[in-house]
Symmetry: C2
Amino acid sequence: MEEKTIKVHLSNTKKAKPAADQLEFGRVFTDHMFILDYTEGSGWHSPRIVPYQSLTLDPASIVFHYGQTVFEGLKAYVTKQGEVRLFRPEKNMERLNRSNNRMCIPQIDESLALKAIKELVNLEKDWIPTAPGTSLYIRPFIISNEAYLGVAPSKTYQFIVILSPVGAYYKEGINPVKISVENDFVRAVKGGTGEAKTAGNYASSLKAQELVSNEGYAQVLWLDGLEKKYIEEVGSMNVFFKINGEVITPELNGSILEGVTRNSVIQLLTHWNVPVYERKISMDEVYEAYKAGLLEEAFGAGTAAVISPIGVLAWQGEQMKINQGETGEISKKLYDTLTGIQYGTESDPFGWTEKVE
Amino acid sequence: MEEKTIKVHLSNTKKAKPAADQLEFGRVFTDHMFILDYTEGSGWHSPRIVPYQSLTLDPASIVFHYGQTVFEGLKAYVTKQGEVRLFRPEKNMERLNRSNNRMCIPQIDESLALKAIKELVNLEKDWIPTAPGTSLYIRPFIISNEAYLGVAPSKTYQFIVILSPVGAYYKEGINPVKISVENDFVRAVKGGTGEAKTAGNYASSLKAQELVSNEGYAQVLWLDGLEKKYIEEVGSMNVFFKINGEVITPELNGSILEGVTRNSVIQLLTHWNVPVYERKISMDEVYEAYKAGLLEEAFGAGTAAVISPIGVLAWQGEQMKINQGETGEISKKLYDTLTGIQYGTESDPFGWTEKVE
């Protein structure tokens, strides 16, 4: 008895939209949100769009104590043709269900979730900023809201989608950042929750991030939790290295998030006949390549920044300057192509974008 | 400009208290709760006791997305003298601040937090059940409630204390459980958040727990995340083994929670001149002791169960039956002594209990 019809309760008031030059990331939210409830025995039910509003939760709700929660992040873009498009949203819905499986949250109907996102984005399309590089960030998430202090999966959940107009990640063009290799703190380990998009991974990362930002670095480069040898991710992005003409990214191993941008980068490079490998890569290997003058580029890949070039990589007291601290050729081409596809200024050979109507 | 005076806003209505034989764990809450706010720049402020009520949170609150949260757990007991007592509450407050440090949450005034707990417990003292083994469970926790989707520490928090009358953990006397050694999933790893009492550790544990409970086990025994060799915890308790007259518990290593009951067990054993060691202990060592007939007892130690004897330990296809599946002598003596101190039927040589007035 699945309900597929989304009830819509429109807001009586409209918030002022931020000026184009005032846009930040994730601070302002649109007028409406989507909610879907789960109750053990009844499944997911009552899909509805309602005015953006506070959530009312019992203080004993499982999410506050045991963090049983998952989320996703994607964006809606206004193309140069004036259409509203999403980028590979079905990949986010698939990953949401993989995260659900790891976190003991019931599977969600991916087509209903995607339909809900599209209906909500369409309703809020006036909120999508149109200046170059701006977009509407979409945050679907699930929280466990049973009021129970036992350590057990919740019997009730809410799937919620909120929207936030966001500014260009790079205000003055794509710009390399300084990264510090993290040797003390660990983001995730095989058998843990690293491949799930769940709250605890991000909570765990705050301390290392706080310490390196005091030293002037933008993010940390995470190493594996076992040997502190192999590279995993950079900040909350996947990471790529170009060494002697070949591009390498850490293989998925149970502790690395399977990024949608990561997957798109691999497909584009393959399409361009640039050799690209998913395999283990150690900091020793990166350092040796650097010393031999073969470390050509390094960059993060994720939804927020798309491509984030690494200009300086600090490890064991050494500051490796990569590509003279400038954005590399492949990084730039990937950024231009991916954003070009997203904003409709480039052709979309893989059919990655999906129109919202 | 710290406010130390706790404002009290009493509830107009009183909930019905559960019958003594209907008490569960963490499902029913008392009439009031304590709240303390944190705002960047102002620090912790506005301590207050208010009617137990839902929390109202922006859906973009950091706790829902990035799980920046910590908690504690302790109990209030009515002693045979009719007094209300807490067990080593200052240890919980110290650990709360250690957890805060790891999770980038501002330090809290431990004496104010303890004062708040005492005032709240005193106000709700009619809620403390008095049947043997029952108590009032106290759950202090901190949530990050800034509405911001950036991965960064929150600028606002709430410290909240809720109370729940709980039944006896063992309805028919202390009872050994079946435990399965976990070989796939990992609870925590050095450099992660295992030694902090934070939501993500518990979310991470749900899947393994779900799988073994389908096979008839009560909990998993967690091994280290590096080699899957050394023992860490059992379920959400610390763990002890008695081998050939000596008691061994895994040493604190950054991924093991420093339990208050663990510390009390070590002190009691030392007081009784029972050899007790905090050191690495591998499953191989436990298995060899078992084969040699030297594995005398095994038990978990934590606030909820106090002492939880392990009757069967399953590992690599073998079911190790410990002490004929019965509660061992040391386990029983520790349980009787700890609960005796808590309920005032035994003397309290260490001054562990603290009167609430």
